[in-house]
Structures are given as C-alpha cells and as structure tokens.
Amino acid sequence: MVEVTGVTKSFGDVVAVSDVSFRVDAGVTALLGPNGAGKSTLFRVMCGLTAPTRGSVRVLGHDARRDREVRGRIGLAPQQDSLFDRVSARQFVEFAAQTLGVVDHAEAARAALGQVALPVDDPKPVGSFSKGMRQRVKLAAALVHDPDVLILDEPLTGLDPVQRNRMITFFHELGDAGKCVLVSSHVLDEVARLGSQVLVIAQGRLGASGDYRALRALMDDRPHRVRVAADRARELAAALLARGLIDGVSVTAEELVVHTNDVDRFGRSIAPTARELGVRLREVEPLDDDLESVFRYLVERR
C-alpha cells in the first residue's frame, strides 16, 4: 500500500531522512524512533506535504503530491497541536469530511467523533480543549472519510491510559479490516502494544524493521556499558574479566566502565564479586539504557 524507495530529505545542510526504503501493507505498523529522528519528516514526505530530495514514495500506487485523488484516500493526524481553534469538534471534523469529498459529511463526522469517544454536540471551540481531546479531534478528522491509509504521528501523546488502550485496540481493528495504519511513537512500551511490525528510525536512517519481538531481542542482546564507582577499581576490574562477566573495561582510580553482552548476568554478579573481594561499591549506573542509545546501536550495527 505504501512504498518508500531510497528517500532522502534535506533541509539545507541538515539531512532529516537519509536513504530510507521500506514497504508497508495492510495492518498496523509502528514507526519507532527518538524525538528528532525524522519520523514526522518521513510522514510528511509520504503524504506529499514536502517533496523528497531524492527517492520516491508511492501511496496506493500514486504520488500524493501530484495526484489529487489519492489524497482523499489518506488520513493524516499530524503531530502538531494546531487546529482551527474557533470551531467546535463537530464543525472541525465535518469540515474535514466535506473537504475530503464525503457526501454524508454530518453523519460521517458523528461516527468519527463516536469512534474517538468525543461528544458530538459539545459546542465548545476546540481551542479550549485539553491536549488529549485535541488529539482525539485530529484522529476523528483523519478517520472521517474511512481512508485506506492512515498515517498517525504520535497519536497517543496526551491520551490517558484508558484512552490509549481504546485507541490501540481501535488501530488494530482498522488494521484487521484491511487498512494500512502507520503509527509513530518514541515510546518503546507503546510500540510493543501497537503492532508486530516495526520500523525503527534514528538520525534519519532506518535502523531496523520487522517483527517487534525479534527487534526487542536484538535490543536486549546489544552490548551494554555500565559505570561502576568503587574503591580498588583495578582489582575489581581484573576479577570481573577473569570470571568472564565482562567483555571489556576501562579503569580510572576509583571508577570502571565495563562492556558486557550479558547485562543481566553482570547485574546479578557484581555485588557478590565485590563482597568477596572486600571492595566497596558506591554506584552502579547503566550508561546506555536510554532509548537514544538503543536506536543508535540499531542504526550503527547495520
């Protein structure tokens, strides 16, 4: 349904997306990456909102930037929070339906608002809505014409846990109904629940793609760095190496940074080893457990 081939997007000297290729079909696909990784730019290129510097995008076989009709088969919920603040939710979604060529726009708007659990007859302008409510208005506007391809940029941001669960279930229903649902997120746990198909993007490059469980295993098996503050650091480092608990180490007077491919085993063993040697541990701190490091690893290993 969506085919991205060798897409690069630069803004002056800044390369936001670099040589990205993938194909997604019906079902839910999650686009995972840290903030600033290029997810929104990639979505904008896919929707035709900005032209790629190199490469091509086909949505349902068409270029959304050139082909008018295909734009009516895409539903986009952009990341930015801005809406036409002076209209009500119903008016906003109804306007979306009208501009998307939906004949029974009033009924379509009513149905879409119901799908995101927003009251249909609330006269308040969307400018007075909370972030979560605005997010749902955007979703309703993206859904109102029953599009074949849904591109949702961080759609769960601002939603409470109940709403998140509801939306994730709804996305899966859409995917099961044959829609192509692309959802971006920078939260690993969200992606775990979003779908089995995952694209990982970092620093503008596609780091990994495929089944979420395989990707998760890859993330867990990656080399970890841990900083250990202790007295007699050299003695502790030698013992850890001798026992095969670490794969490498750099040592200063009171601190060592260890490299290990089995962080669980290291975590279980560090305290008993130190106690056995009579070494006093002051601090044990993982250095690259943040998502940025995970993404960087996935990109660099390619």
Partner: protein, 246 residues
C-alpha cells in the same frame, strides 16, 4: 468513504467559509474600524478648515491621499495576508492542503473571503468621508469603484505574500508605505508600477479633478489591476501547489 475529488465550486465555497470564520476576529475589526474612523475625522477636519475651496477637489485629495494610499491597502493587507498566511504559519494549512482539491479554488476562496471582509471596512469610512466633505455624488461613485478595484487587487497580492514570506504583514506594510506611498510618487513610470497610480486614475476619470500620477484612462485604471489580481491568484496557486507544508 471519500467520494473522489471535491468539485471546484464546492472547494471555493468551503475555503471561503473557513477563512471567513478564521479571519473575522474582534481585535482585527476594532483596530481597522478605528483606522476608518481616523480617516473620517481627518476628512471632516479638512472639510472644515477650507470652507471656501472647491469641496469636490478637497474631497478627492483627502480620499485619494488617505483612503487609497493607506486605508484600502492596509485593510486588505491585514485580512488577505492572514487568509492563508496564518494557516501556513500555525501549521493548520495541512487541513486544506492534504485534500482531493485543486489548489486554485483554495486560493480563490481565501481571496474572496479577504475581499468580503476588507471591502466594507474600507468602503464605509471612505463614503462617509466623501459625504462629510460635501463633495457630491461623483466622488462617492468614484470612491466606490476605486475601492472595489483596489481591494480586489491588493487582496490578491497580499494572499500571495502570505504564502511567500513569513511575517507578510511586515513586508506588506513596507510595500504599502515605501513603494505605494513613496516610490510611486517619483513619477508617472513609477506610478504605473504601483496600484495607487490606477486607483487615482479611476478617481480622476470619474470626477474630472486632476491628481498627480492619475493620468491613465478609466479602462486602464480598471483593467490593469484586474489583470494583476488574476496573475497574483495564479502565482499563489502555483506557490500553494509547490510549497512545503508543515
């Protein structure tokens, strides 16, 4: 399910209604109404200060200098630059752009909305000014025609500006004050490159009062601005199609 492309007239009317709703704010209306009141007050003062002169000539000069050098272009600037420019800057343009609609109906709808809001805010103070200086029906007729032509062309130019540059109001004000207000006064060739030369020509043709830089025929005074308006709308459509949308 979407039923395909949105017909042209429908696209114009949807854009028009949306832009009208977004443009008409209390703040804008009050600010521009105040400008209109200032024009009326100055006209009344001019009328009272020179009671022995020709009221038509007096009226023509004050309306031409204040109305068509300041009021008409500034009112059009405020609304037309904001019509699509505000959406571009606050990232809501995506809700008009990613639609199965051609680009030119979107521009025409926005332009029509800007003209609809601008025209009464320019026209009413100018007509009141013409009446206040007791210039007679000829000036009222000339003012209406020139204001309509001026609003049409300025609105088209400033819709384009809103799509071309950030802070179009600032650029537009610079254009109005420097180009229309200053450079156009340097000679007849410069006046032909400014809208002001054409609106002054309309007033001159209709009232018979000679104005500097207003030496074109009525037909030219009307036709050239309309051609410029069509060209500006065309360019704005091309710009909307080719631009990056946030």
């Amino acid at each position: 399910m979407s039923d395909g492309a949105v017909p042209t007239v429908r696209a114009i009317s949807l854009t028009y209604r949306l832009v009208m709703r977004q443009l008409v704010t209390r703040g804008r209306l009050i600010a521009l109404a105040v400008v209109g009141v200032v024009v009326v007050v100055v006209s009344a003062a001019v009328g009272a200060s020179d009671a022995d002169g020709d009221p038509l000539e007096r009226g023509v000069r004050v309306i031409s200098d204040l109305g068509f050098t300041a009021l008409v272009p500034i009112v059009a600037l405020v609304f037309a630059a904001a019509s699509l420019g505000d959406m571009r800057e606050d990232s809501t343009l995506v809700y008009l752009w990613l639609r199965p609609m051609d680009r030119w109906p979107v521009v025409v709808g926005a332009w029509a909305a800007a003209v609809t809001v601008s025209l009464p805010l320019s026209l009413v103070p100018l007509i009141v000014s013409a009446v206040v200086v007791d210039a007679g029906g000829a000036l009222v007729g000339a003012t209406v025609l020139a204001a309509v032509v001026g609003t049409i062309v300025y609105s088209a130019l400033f819709v384009l500006a809103g799509l071309l540059v950030k802070n179009a109001i600032v650029w537009g004000l610079a254009y109005v004050l420097l180009w229309e207000g200053l450079v156009a006064g340097f000679g007849s060739f410069a006046a032909r490159l400014a809208i002001r030369g054409y609106t002054r020509s309309i007033i001159t043709s209709r009232t018979g009062i000679d104005l500097d830089l207003g030496d074109l025929s009525l037909a030219t005074g009307i036709a050239v601005p309309l051609v410029v308006a069509v060209a500006a709308i065309g360019l704005a459509s091309v710009r909307l199609r080719a631009m990056d949308v946030a």
